[in-house]
Symmetry: C2
Subunit: 156 residues, 2 copies
DNA sequence: ACAATAACGGATTTCAAGGTCTTGTTTTCC
DNA sequence: GGAAAACAAGACCTTGAAATCCGTTATTGT
C-alpha cells in the first residue's frame, strides 16, 4: 500500500526529528533506521529537492530537517517522495463525467482522502511525543537520542 | 496507492453486479470497463480462484458473480487480488516490540485500518444504488445494462 | 596545499507488476 | 462428431521501483 521509499523517508525524517537540531550523516541514519545506505542517499536527495531536509557536505556535515518537527507533517514527507495521487477525473477517461466521479471511484477517492487527512494532521513532533508504551522511534527500548554505537569495525 | 490490478478487479465486479445475474464474457467486460482484455482474463482468473466469481466455458458462457451484489464487499474484491497488508509487526524487525507498534507505524497502520474498514462496509449493491448525479458504473450516462455495441468489425 | 569527510550524480543491475500472445481444454449448437 | 465459443494456463516481453556502484564535488581541519 505504501511504497518502500515512503517507509524509508518517514523513518529517516522521524529519526532526524528525534535528533534535531543536530545533523546526522547518511551512514548514521541508515544504521539507526535499518535502511540500505546507498538507497537512503537517493531518498534523502529527493527530500532535499522537496525542501524537507537540508544537507551540508564535508567533515561535521550531514542532513538536518529544514523545518521544526512541530511544523513538519507526515503528509509533506510522503508527498515529497511518492505523492498520494487523489482521483480527480474518471480513470476510464469518460468525458461524460466532468467533476463528478462515478460511485465506485468516489469511494476509492474518499479512502485516499481520509489517509491524506490523517497524514496532514500529524506532525513529526506528535509522533515523537506519543505516549506509546513501546518505543520512541523504532530504535531500542527507551533509547532517546539513539544508541550511537562506536560506528567503526562493527559490521564484520 | 491502489494497484492497477485492484482497479481492474473492481471495475469488472461492479460491472458484473450491474448485469447480475446474467453472465458476461471476458471480451464484453473488457470493452465495458476499458481494461486490456488479455490482462483482464488474468485478473478474472484470480477472482475465480478466490471464489468471487464463477466461470462457464463454451457458447453462452462467461463470468458471473459467485455471490449476490448485496453480499459482496469492495474489501473482498480487493483482498482477492491484492490484499491490504496491515502492519502487524515492526517493519524494522525489532524484537523489542511484541504487539505494540512504534508511534510511526501505529499511525500508518491506522490509516490502512480506516481504508480497510471503509471497504468492508461497502457492498457492490450499494455502489450501484448510489444516488450519484453522474453515472451508475463508469460507462455512459444513464446506460444501465451497458451500451452493448455490435461487438464485431468495430475495432478498426 | 593536502587529506579526510561526506553529499551528489549518473550508470547499472535486479525484480516484480503489468501486459501480451499462443496453445490448450471445456461446452454448446448444428 | 465437428465447428465455433469461451475460459485456462503458461511462456514471454516491458516497464518502473528498489537497490547498488563508482566517480565527482564541496567542506573542513591540519
Amino acid at each position: 500500500m505504501f511504497s518502500q521509499t515512503v517507509e524509508y523517508a518517514l523513518r529517516a525524517t522521524v529519526h532526524l526529528a528525534d535528533c534535531a537540531p543536530a545533523a546526522r550523516t547518511t551512514e548514521q541514519i541508515a544504521r539507526a533506521t535499518k535502511v540500505p545506505a546507498p538507497y537512503l542517499a537517493k531518498v534523502l536527495q529527493g527530500l532535499k529537492r522537496a525542501g524537507i531536509v537540508r544537507s551540508q557536505r564535508g567533515i561535521g556535515g550531514g542532513i538536518t530537517l529544514a523545518k521544526e518537527p512541530e511544523a513538519l507533517t507526515i503528509l509533506e514527507v510522503v508527498n515529497a517522495v511518492d505523492p498520494i495521487r487523489r482521483i480527480r477525473t474518471c480513470p476510464l477517461g469518460l468525458a461524460s463525467h466532468g467533476e463528478h466521479l462515478c460511485p465506485l471511484h468516489r469511494r476509492l477517492d474518499n479512502a485516499l482522502a481520509s489517509v491524506e487527512e490523517a497524514f496532514r494532521k500529524t506532525t513529526l513532533a506528535e509522533v515523537l511525543a506519543d505516549p506509546n508504551p513501546s518505543i520512541p522511534l523504532c530504535d531500542f527500548p527507551g533509547a532517546r537520542g539513539g544508541p550511537e554505537v562506536a560506528a567503526g569495525a562493527e559490521t564484520s
